[in-house]
């Protein structure tokens, strides 16, 4: 019921982004609208999704950016008109990619900015390079991280090093595994936000969480089949390196827990997983739970957790745009984007806090529909001015 009309686009940016989208499209994750964006037309050709958008002028005909962040950024800005068209009329834009390369690091912040300017909420899901890829790439990724964070509403960061279990994996496997995991994560997030769940969270909840978490998260993932699926999925989640063996939960200020199960999923199982996770969170941490029932998930349980985690420098606040300029994002751009007049949805959020939460519906179940909180007066949401007197 909720959010049925929400328009969501999953965008893969750069080589890694296209690889992840291809993985999603090829492994039967149908449903989301996909768009691949890259400077490299060969990478685009290999990405078998509905919409493909090459960025940059003909001049560098399509061999990618050669790891040059500045060229990635330029390419995105040259294709601004195409990106505006791509991101117009969206409620939520997922930006998926790897940081550390040219297109991912350079173009992603620009794409995020454009999507936001079109009124979409932007969720960036990014991978950080493996350690073996070298220090230069790691440094590049770190600065790109700040640039993306400044332009997105919520950022989920997956360090590739946490994807593999130590040195055992072969190089090829390591990349495949990273793509696989990112694909599952993005699909899981897409589903929680677009399909009606029985215990659902929606945009408003997510926004509230975003505010409290400072907008950066990492993710954990657990999947199991069989009778003891809830215990096994929880164990996989806790013992996995993604959450540093559960360490990330202990430092989190907020967590979003999303479960997918079959019609046979019991309340006890949901409760068990929920308790297992919240017990490890600090007492003050806020948590959100979403449960989806999918006929294809009979006998299976998938648990995805987003936990707040601080990455690098603190997120710049409204007026403090004095963080040092980073590669890939012009400081002037960032300044203007932070000071941009708030978008309509943000304004609603404030109005809701000011008036309605203290109003008559305070203790009542909130009524959400199509991403809107119906308890907020209609005239406010429709921006109708009331002149009395």
């Amino acid at each position: 019921m909720t959010l049925q009309s929400t328009r969501i686009l999953v965008t893969g940016i750069g080589g890694a982004g296209c690889r992840i989208l291809d993985t999603m499209a090829q492994s039967g994750m149908t449903g989301p609208f996909y768009a691949a964006v890259s400077t490299d037309s060969k990478a685009l050709a290999g990405c078998r999704v509905g919409t493909r958008q090459r960025i940059g002028t003909q001049r560098d005909v399509s061999f990618g950016t050669g790891e040059d962040v500045e060229r990635g950024r330029q390419a995105a800005e040259e294709s601004q008109a195409d990106l505006v068209r791509l991101f117009s009329n969206l409620d939520l834009a997922f930006m998926v990619g790897g940081l550390g390369g040219g297109t991912g690091s350079g173009a992603m912040p620009v794409a995020c900015r454009i999507a936001r300017e079109q009124g979409a909420m932007v969720m960036a899901v990014v991978a950080l390079p493996f350690e073996f890829e070298g220090q230069a790439r790691a440094d590049l990724a770190r600065s790109a991280l700040d640039a993306v964070r400044a332009e997105s509403d919520l950022m989920v960061v997956i360090p590739n090093d946490r994807v593999t279990d130590g040195n055992a994996s072969r190089l090829k496997d390591a990349f495949a595994r990273s793509s696989d995991l990112m694909a599952n994560l993005v699909f899981g997030l897409w589903r929680s936000l677009s399909k009606p769940g029985h215990l659902n969270f929606d945009f408003d909840d997510l926004r509230a969480m975003v505010r409290e978490t400072g907008g950066t998260c990492t993710a954990g993932f657990g999947d199991a089949v069989g009778r003891d699926r809830s215990i096994e999925a929880l164990n996989a989640l806790m013992q996995g390196r993604l959450l540093d063996g559960g360490q990330r939960l202990q430092d989190a200020s907020a967590a979003i827990i999303s479960m997918v199960g079959g019609p046979d999923l019991s309340v006890g199982e949901v409760d068990g997983v929920m308790t297992g996770i919240t017990a490890r969170l600090p007492a003050t941490a806020r948590s959100l739970l979403g449960v989806m029932i999918d006929d294809g998930w009979r006998n299976r349980l998938t648990v995805t957790v987003l936990v707040s985690e601080a990455w690098g420098t603190p997120r710049p606040r409204q007026e403090e745009t004095s963080t040092p300029p980073v590669a890939g994002a012009r400081s002037a751009d960032r300044g203007s984007s932070r000071k941009r007049p708030p978008k309509p949805p943000d304004r609603q959020q404030k109005l809701k806090l000011d008036f309605v939460e203290d109003g008559p519906f305070r203790n009542a179940p909130a009524t959400h529909l199509g991403g809107q909180n119906l308890d907020t007066p209609t005239y406010l949401r429709r921006s109708i001015s009331i002149r009395d007197g």
């Binding site: 029985h198 109003g359 519906f361 179940p365 119906l374 308890d375 007066p377 209609t378 009331i386 009395d388």
Partner: protein, 403 residues
């Protein structure tokens, strides 16, 4: 099994008021109201109980009033359920006919009904109604009663109306704590449809919108079957709240304005007339712009109707409603609402008054009594042809009377 003439007590725990109706069934099929209890609600928001103690008190008072009024002793009641958690789903089932001559027997029908009723609900949901839609023979011909007919495969679609277990149980707990028996429960949207729709409207297709203080409960008839039903947690309280916020008024004054000067239509001229709100208690009296009031109300009323319109459009039901839109519930009294509905739905719209119920003018002429009146019909139908015992026994609290 009680006789059909034993009075029925219908109870609606609404967001703004609790209504208890005591009625008897006359021989001509009319229900005769013999007692009425009405109390302002407490502890109910958007059709759901949020404060058990306060809600219980208002229900107790309403029931005592009805008891006195009808001069009966109330031991059991039928209860209506509402709230934004209520939804419906069409569930289809089929069985292969095993009879050598492919004749459909009562057992075949029983079997397919059971399958069609078994909608895959999660454990936190509770089925409220299973309503048969159409049988079809070998996936082709739709029939209403296939008994004795011939087919290889018998299909049946059912509309399953369900809601979240917790709010349903909490509503039942109110009755439980008064040591009364719940004879049956019914979705208030279904009750309202039973009360206000004519047989012709059901046949040609119609939607009933029961717009109360906390919820819009809707039920759609299309092609003579119940095609969809549900509830949305928006209602008259939202109208009042919008006025209070938009004109910066205390809630009682906003409510008064809505009732006395409200309209679902915007002002159609340029004059800027004022409305005086009288002083009352701590409120020192004020003038507000009529245009502003009606702009606020129009925006909300328009949105409420569009939510349902869009829901029906999604289900592709809009073209199956020759009987039009019937608006009932307390908000049906908002002037201009049927005109607004006409422009939103683009089909005939009218206010629905309880039919086939007499004894009390207030009831037969009050759209806010639609649910309670329909509940009486529902209860009598249930007593007459008792289909099967309900599953789980959740709705059969037999607790004895303490006093």
């Amino acid at each position: 099994m009680p006789a059909a003439s034993e009075p029925v007590v219908a109870l609606e725990i609404g967001t703004s008021k609790v209504i208890a109706l005591v009625a008897e069934l006359r021989e001509d099929g009319h229900a005769m109201v013999i007692g009425l209890g009405q109390q302002p609600s407490a502890g109910v928001r958007k059709g759901q109980v949020i404060d058990l103690q306060n809600a219980t008190e208002s229900v107790r008072t309403a029931l005592l009033q009805a008891e006195e009024n009808a001069d009966v002793e109330i031991a059991k009641i039928v209860l209506s359920i509402s709230g934004g958690h209520i939804q419906s789903v069409v569930n289809r089932g089929y069985v292969t006919v095993v009879d050598p001559h492919y004749e459909i027997t009562a057992e075949t029908i029983e079997e397919v009904a059971e399958i069609a009723a078994a909608a895959p609900l999660t454990l936190d949901c509770e089925k409220i109604h299973t309503i048969r839609q159409n049988f079809s023979l070998d996936g082709k011909d739709a029939v209403s009663n296939p008994l004795g007919m011939e087919a290889r495969v018998l299909h049946l679609s059912s509309l399953v109306i369900y809601g979240a277990q917790t709010p349903i149980n909490n509503t039942i707990k109110v009755i439980q704590s008064l040591k009364l028996e719940v004879e049956d429960v019914a979705f208030s949207g279904l009750c309202s449809a039973l009360a206000v729709l004519t047989p012709e409207q059901k046949q040609s297709g119609a939607v009933v919108l029961d717009i109360g203080a906390g919820t819009i409960d809707f039920l759609v008839y299309a092609d003579n079957v119940v095609a969809s039903a549900g509830s949305i947690g928006v209602g008259g309280e939202h109208l009042t709240n919008d006025v209070a916020l938009g004109l910066n008024l205390p809630r009682p004054q906003a409510e008064w304005l809505k009732l006395e000067h409200g309209s679902a239509l915007e002002c159609d001229d340029d004059s800027d007339s004022k409305v005086s709100i009288p002083a009352d208690g701590g409120f020192s009296g004020r003038q507000v712009s009529l245009r502003a009031l009606r702009t606020i109300l129009h925006a909300r009323a328009d949105e409420m109707l569009r939510i349902v319109h869009d829901r029906l459009a999604e289900l592709d039901l809009l073209h199956h409603m020759a009987g039009g839109v019937v608006i009932t519930g307390g908000c049906a009294r908002l002037p201009g609402l049927t005109d607004l509905a006409l422009s939103v739905f683009n089909c005939p719209c009218q206010i629905g008054y309880p039919r086939n119920i007499s004894g009390l003018m207030a009831v037969s002429e009050g759209p806010e009594f639609a649910t309670a009146s329909g509940l009486i019909r529902y209860a009598y139908q249930g007593r007459g042809v008792r289909q099967k015992p309900r599953n789980g026994g959740l709705f059969n609290w037999i607790l004895g009377r303490s006093s």
